[in-house]
C-alpha cells in the first residue's frame, strides 16, 4: 500500500533522512517596517518573554519562555511582530532586491509571507495576493490591517488564472497548496496517501505553468512547500526545468541541498540547487528559486 507511517518513513530514509520525533518551537518574526529591533526585543524581555535568535534568519526569534500567549501582547496586536514558524520564514528571503517591485503572492492566505514580503519591500511597490478561498482572504485582510501593510491588493482568484489580472511580475512567490508534513499534523501518516500527493503535485504544476506565463523575462519565482514528498518538490522542479523554460538558481539559505537522483530517477542536475529542510526544531520545508532561461 502506498500509504502509512512505515511507507513514508522509508521513503524519507531513501532520501537521506532518518526519522526522528520533532519538537517544534514557536517562532516570531519582527516586522522591521513597524518596529525598531533592539527596542522591541527589550519590550518583550520586560514582559518576561525569553527569545533566542534563529541563526539562519535575520528577523526571526524562537520563543524560549513566555508566561502568556505571544499572540495576545500589545506588541503583537500592534503588528510589531508576527508569529511565523521558522522554516516558513525562509522562502520570502530568497528573492533578490524587492524594493519597488511588482510581486505576485499566488497562494497567499492567511498571509504570513505576504506580510513578510511587504516588510522586505518596506511597503513600496505592489504585491498582488491571490487565494482561491474567500474566507481565508478575510484572515489575510486582518493580518494586513494588524501589520499596517499598505502595498497589497488581494483578489479571490485561482492562481491558475493569474494572467487575468493583466500584470507581468518581477517576483512571484509560489507557496503552493501541498500535502503538508507530519511535524505540524499528528494524523498526517494516517490521512495521506500517494494519490493525494500526486493530486497536489498536478495542481502545483498547473500553478507553476501560469506563474511562468506572468513572470517578466528577468523575474524570479520562489517555489515552496511544507511537504516532504519528492513528487511535490524535486520531481516538480525537474518537470518545470524541462517544460517551462526555467532553471533552478543557486540559493544560500538554511537546509540541505536536494538530490538530483530520486527513487532511481535521474533529474536535471540543477535540481540540486533546491533546499530541503527536514523537521527538527522547525517543520519540514522545501524551497527553491527559478529564473527564466534567456534565449
Amino acid at each position: 500500500m502506498m500509504s502509512g507511517r512505515e511507507f513514508f518513513i522509508s521513503r524519507y530514509q531513501e532520501l537521506g533522512w532518518k526519522y526522528e520525533d520533532v519538537e517544534l518551537k514557536q517562532a516570531i518574526r519582527i516586522n522591521s517596517m513597524n518596529a525598531e529591533k533592539a527596542s522591541l526585543l527589550k519590550r518583550l524581555e520586560s514582559r518576561g518573554i525569553k527569545l533566542e535568535k534563529i541563526p539562519f534568519l535575520e528577523d526571526g526569534y524562537w520563543i524560549c519562555k513566555s508566561e502568556f500567549s505571544v499572540g495576545a501582547t500589545s506588541e503583537y496586536l500592534l503588528g510589531l511582530y508576527s508569529i511565523q514558524e521558522a522554516a516558513a520564514q525562509v522562502p520570502a528571503t530568497l528573492f533578490t532586491e524587492l524594493t519597488d517591485k511588482t510581486v505576485l503572492d499566488a497562494c497567499s492566505a492567511p498571509g504570513g509571507k505576504t506580510v513578510q514580503l511587504a516588510d522586505l519591500m518596506k511597503n513600496t511597490g505592489v504585491i498582488i495576493a491571490l487565494d482561491i478561498e474567500k474566507r481565508r482572504l478575510t484572515a489575510l485582510s486582518n493580518q494586513l490591517e494588524r501589520c499596517r501593510v499598505e502595498n497589497t491588493i488581494t483578489y479571490n482568484l485561482d492562481a491558475r488564472q493569474a494572467s487575468t489580472v493583466g500584470v507581468k511580475f518581477d517576483r512571484i512567490l509560489l507557496d503552493v497548496p501541498c500535502s503538508g508534513n507530519f511535524a505540524t499534523d499528528r494524523d498526517w501518516f494516517k490521512r495521506r496517501t500517494i494519490p493525494d500527493v500526486e493530486r497536489n503535485a498536478k495542481l502545483q504544476r498547473e500553478i507553476l505553468t501560469q506563474a511562468a506565463k506572468v513572470l517578466k523575462d528577468d523575474g524570479e519565482i520562489v517555489y515552496s512547500t511544507c511537504s516532504l514528498e519528492p513528487e511535490e518538490n524535486e520531481l516538480n522542479m525537474d518537470w518545470a526545468v524541462k517544460n517551462l523554460n526555467v532553471q533552478v538558481e543557486e540559493v544560500r539559505c538554511h537546509g540541505e541541498k536536494a538530490r538530483a537522483s530520486i527513487f532511481g530517477r535521474h533529474l536535471d542536475s540543477s535540481v540540486e540547487n533546491c533546499r530541503r529542510i527536514w523537521p527538527s526544531r522547525t517543520q519540514g520545508f522545501f524551497v527553491c528559486k527559478l529564473k527564466k532561461v534567456c534565449a
Binding site: S74, L78, L140, N142, L144, E150, N151, T154, N156
Partner: protein
C-alpha cells in the same frame, strides 16, 4: 464618499484629510490606495492598500490603520499606564487612575483615542464624564480596541472549524 470618515474623525476632534482620488469604496468598505496601487486595483479586489473602515447601517466602524493615522495628527488622545493598557485591550473601560496624560477634549460625550506610553494607538472610546469632575470609576468607555484582532480570529475559527 469620504463623509463617513470625515464625520468620524470630527468626533475625535481631528480634521484628517485623505486624497479623494486615492480613496475607494468597495461595497461598504473604504480603502486608501497610493499612485502605484491605483492603476492596478481592478473593481473586484477584495482588499487594497490601507483599509480605512466600513459603514454598516449608517454607522462608520474605523480600522486600526485609520485610528493610527488620526493619532499621528491633532486629535483627542488619552495616554494610559501599562496595567490599563492591558485591561483596555481585553475590552475593559478606562479608569481615571490609569490615565497618564490627556490631549484635547475630555468632555462628557466626546470621543478619544487611547494610546499606550509609546504613543501607539490601542483603540478609541467615549468619554463618560468630564475628567476633572470624575471621581473613581470608568471615565472612558471602550468602543474598539486592538484585542479585536483576537476576537475576530476566535469568531472565524468558531464558524469555520
Amino acid at each position: 464618499m469620504m463623509e463617513p470618515i470625515k464625520d468620524f474623525a470630527r468626533q475625535l476632534n481631528s480634521n484628517i484629510s485623505l486624497d479623494e482620488n486615492l480613496t475607494v469604496r468597495r461595497q461598504n468598505r473604504f480603502f486608501l490606495l497610493n499612485k502605484t496601487l491605483k492603476p492596478l486595483a481592478s473593481k473586484d479586489f477584495f482588499h487594497a492598500g490601507i483599509y480605512l473602515g466600513k459603514e454598516k447601517d449608517g454607522v462608520f466602524f474605523p480600522s486600526f490603520n485609520l485610528l493610527a493615522m488620526i493619532a499621528d495628527k491633532k486629535a483627542n488622545k488619552v495616554t494610559v499606564d501599562e496595567k490599563t493598557e492591558w485591561l483596555f485591550i481585553c475590552g475593559r473601560d478606562v479608569f481615571k487612575r490609569g490615565i497618564i496624560r490627556v490631549i484635547g477634549s475630555m468632555k462628557k460625550g466626546s470621543y478619544t483615542l487611547i494610546l499606550n506610553s509609546y504613543s501607539e494607538c490601542l483603540g478609541f472610546g467615549k468619554v463618560l464624564s468630564d475628567l476633572h469632575e470624575a471621581k473613581e470609576g470608568a471615565v472612558v468607555k471602550n468602543i474598539l480596541d486592538i484585542g479585536d484582532f483576537l476576537r475576530r480570529e476566535k469568531s472565524s475559527s468558531k464558524t469555520h472549524s
